[in-house]
Symmetry: C2
Subunit: 254 residues, 2 copies
C-alpha cells in the first residue's frame, strides 16, 4: 500500500496521526507490512519530520505500529492493537468501514457486558443520571421518524448508552463507556432503517429506562439484552456467537 491513496492532509500532527490511523484501521495495510519511512511521509504530506515522528509515536503507542531503530516501521496485527486506548476511540469516531471482524468483537463485548452495566446502573443511578437518561430518551422520541433529524437521533441514542455507563459510578466502567462511544455510534449508524425497526428499538430503550428509574437491576439486565438483540438483528449478526472468530490464531497470543 502506498501513501498516494490517502486523502489530503490539513496540517497538525494530530490530524496526520488520525489520517494514518484510519488507513490502518480500515485495513489499507496488512499485518507485517513495512510502513513508509519518516522522510517519505514528510515529503508526501509536506510536513516536517517532527510532525511525522509525533504522529508515528501516537500510532506506535496505540499498538498499530512497531518501530525499531535501523529496521524501520512495521504494521502490527489486530490482536496487538490497544483497543481501549482513548486515541483509538478518537480515531474511530465517524469511521464507517471498520473491519467486520472488529465490529463483531466489539458487538460481542457489548452483548456480554452491557446488560451487566445496566443492572449496575439501576442500582447506583443518581437522580441526575436518571434525568439525563430521560432527556436522551425523549430526544430519541422527538427525532424518531424524521429523516432530516437522523443525525440527532444517533446522538441521542449514543448519549443514552453513555449515560448508563456513567450511572454505574465506577471509574473503570465509566472509562469503558467513553471509549465505546464511537463504536456504539458506528453500530447505531448502521442499524437504523425503516420506521418499524426504529419504533421497536425505541420501545426496547424505553424498557431499560423504566427499569433503571425504578431501580430494578434484573429487569434492566434483560431489557438491555433486548436492546442489543434488536441491534444484532439490524446488523445481521447472530448474538449467540460470543467469540470473535480469532480462535484460529488465538493460541499464540498469550
Amino acid at each position: 500500500m502506498t501513501l498516494d491513496a490517502l486523502p489530503a492532509h490539513q496540517g497538525g500532527a494530530e490530524n496526520l496521526a488520525r489520517l494514518l490511523a484510519r488507513a490502518l484501521l480500515t485495513g489499507h495495510w496488512q499485518p507485517g507490512d513495512v510502513f513508509p519511512k519518516e522522510l517519505d511521509i514528510g515529503r508526501h504530506f509536506s510536513v516536517s519530520r517532527n510532525q511525522v515522528r509525533n504522529a508515528l509515536a501516537s500510532l506506535s503507542a496505540a499498538g498499530l505500529l512497531e518501530r525499531t531503530a535501523g529496521r524501520g516501521t512495521q504494521v502490527r496485527a489486530m490482536s496487538e492493537w490497544h483497543l481501549l486506548d482513548p486515541l483509538m476511540s478518537e480515531w474511530m469516531t465517524g469511521l464507517i468501514n471498520l473491519d467486520p471482524q472488529l465490529v463483531r468483537a466489539i458487538y460481542a463485548f457489548r452483548f456480554s457486558a452491557e446488560p451487566l452495566v445496566a443492572g449496575l446502573a439501576a442500582q447506583a443511578a443518581s437522580a441526575e443520571d436518571i434525568a439525563r437518561l430521560e432527556a436522551a430518551f425523549e430526544g430519541m422520541q422527538r427525532s424518531a421518524g424524521q429523516p432530516a433529524a437522523r443525525h440527532q437521533h444517533t446522538e441521542y441514542d449514543v448519549a443514552f448508552h453513555d449515560v448508563i455507563y456513567q450511572a454505574t459510578h465506577n471509574l473503570v466502567w465509566r472509562q469503558m463507556g467513553y471509549l465505546l462511544r464511537p463504536s456504539i455510534m458506528a453500530l447505531v449508524h448502521r442499524s437504523q432503517h425503516d420506521i418499524k425497526t426504529l419504533d421497536d428499538s425505541l420501545a426496547r430503550h424505553g424498557h431499560v429506562l423504566k427499569a433503571i428509574q425504578v431501580g430494578d437491576a434484573t429487569a434492566a439486565e434483560t431489557a438491555a439484552r433486548e436492546v442489543l438483540r434488536r441491534t444484532a438483528i439490524d446488523l445481521g449478526i447472530v448474538p449467540d456467537t460470543l467469540s470473535d472468530g480469532a480462535n484460529l490464531s488465538s493460541s499464540r497470543h498469550m
Copy 2:
C-alpha cells in the same frame, strides 16, 4: 510538591515518564496543581528537553496532565485519568501505594465483571486455554505455603486470572485482562497472609478451574464471585459497595 522528593533517574524517556507517572499515581501532586516546567525537570534530572517533552507527552496522553501553550502544565483529577491506557498499566506494575479510592474502584469493577468473564470463558475456552489454566493452578498449589516462593505464587495467581480473560476469545475482554494485570497483582500482593487464608483462596480458585473444565458457565460465575469475596475479606473491603465513592463529584463528569 517539588521534584526533590523523587527517586533517581536511570536514563531514557520511558523511565522518566514512569518515574513521574508513579509520583502522580501515588498522589504526590494534587489535582489542579501546576506541574514543574520542562526546563526545570530537565535540569533536575540532567536530561535533554526532548526527553522531558516525550515523557510529558506520554503523561498527557494518559490523561494525567494537561498541557497548554503559554500557560504550563496542570495536574488532572483522577476522574480524567485514562485508566485503560496500556501506559497506565505499565506504570502501575509493582506499585504498592496505589490511591485507596483507585484500588476500591478497580476491585469493584472486577467484582462485577470477573464472574461474567469466567462464565464466558467456560463457554469459549479451548483445550489449550484449559491446559494453561491447569498449569497456573498447579503452580499456585506448588508454591503455596512456601514463604520463599511467595513471589512465584503471586505470578501464578495473576496468570490464572489472565488466562480466564484470554479464554473468552474476545478482543476487548482480552485487552481488559492484559490491562488489569498490574492491578490484580497489587490486590493479590496485599491479600496473601497466613496459611489458612491461602488454603481457602486456593480452594476457591480450584472451583473456578473445575467449572471451566466442564464448561459450566453459571458454576464458573458463582465460583469466580467466591474468589473475589475471599480477596475482599483479605483486603478489608465490603463487596456490596459497587460504586467508587465518587458520587459526590460525579455529576460534573458527563
